[in-house]
Symmetry: C2
Subunit: 112 residues, 2 copies
């Protein structure tokens, strides 16, 4: 039962974070607030639509906050919330695992 | 540049682990070797086809080993490899985050 509950918790996390880009977006936002176009530049592989959807999902989950500044043109910034900072250890282990993966398979990873 | 490389590493990890089920499967396999049908029971939401594909992806990445025992009927077991054990800290933080998420939003998570 306990294992089962823990299993469920992994599923819960992955349901929210399991997309290819969400944790990557969080990893950039943990550096500080960013505008939409900053994130597009940081993550060149993501489409504008996917970026919008992923940011909205993170916002709906209370992990990212979107602030609109009434400048002209309007400036929209995204930042991690206090809850979002709980993803710091998740991002950390994913980075470490990804680094190890790239060192193990430099060619395969590049050609993927 | 350093941030960028770390960012890439998160992407690398998520490219391999980002599906909804893969880390969950690894979390069950970290308990010990399992047969295909054990995993189907552990993860009732997954289709047979998806389970096959996810196990194969983990196998191709060298994280899971598939062993066929020449019994009758043939017995096929899956287990994590030494490399796969590197996912233990990843599973751990995902569990912790998922638990926190469920405690924070018991209703939302249940209705998702």
């Amino acid at each position: 039962m306990k294992e089962n509950m823990s299993g469920c918790s992994v599923e819960e996390s992955m349901r929210l974070l399991g997309g290819r880009w969400r944790l990557l977006l969080v990893s950039y936002l943990l550096e500080g607030p960013k505008r939409f176009n900053d994130l597009r530049r940081d993550v060149p592989g993501i489409s504008q639509r996917m970026l919008t959807l992923d940011l909205r999902a993170l916002e709906n989950a209370g992990l990212v906050k979107r602030t609109v500044y009434p400048t002209s043109p309007v400036r929209v910034e995204y930042e991690v919330t206090e809850d979002g900072k709980r993803l710091e250890p998740v991002v950390k282990v994913m980075k470490e695992f990804g680094l190890w993966l790239k060192e193990r398979d430099p060619v395969r990873v590049a050609n993927d």
